[in-house]
Amino acid sequence: MDLTLDLLTYGLVVMGAFFFVAGTAGVLRFPDVYCRLHAVTKADNLGLGFVALGLALQAPDWAARVQILLTWLLVLAAAATVCHLLGRSSLHGGVPAVGGKEVRS
């Protein structure tokens, strides 16, 4: 039982770490701010989800598990909001998008 759980945690955490790497890679390599927003919000939050899940399995009690999941949900909600804000501001601020049309200011 413990071994199974542990293996599951290993798997989930590694998976999460992978998504984090993917997110960072996106932040670094994507051509414009709008693409990068995708990377950081989607990949990283997914990664966080996997990590959180993996850790929740190991958590000592239910309270901790709930807290972990709540934290994740909070980050998720926050990411959505912030991402939207950032994107909109960039657009209004005249940050050009790659391949996109000329942006009005």
């Binding site: 501001s89 601020g93 005249g94 200011s105």
Partner: protein
Amino acid sequence: MSPALVLDGVVVGLLLALALRLLVTRDLFEATVLFVAYGLTLALAWVRVGAPDLALAEAALGAGVTGALFLNAYKRLSREVEQPTEEDPS
């Protein structure tokens, strides 16, 4: 090399790198963002040296409040020091 040491090494390295960059850059906004990042990293460092309570304070005060103070300064400065070349979007 134990994983713990690697972690500490990364944290310390990140701290120093952030500090260096934020001190040499000429972009105030970048410095401000880096300062917040620095504060958060510092909070992680507090965790590592056995002071989790401080991590809370550091995150809230060191990164949060101080960051906001710098941001405010940034905003006022960019309004007063130079004539903005673009129109204010707000």
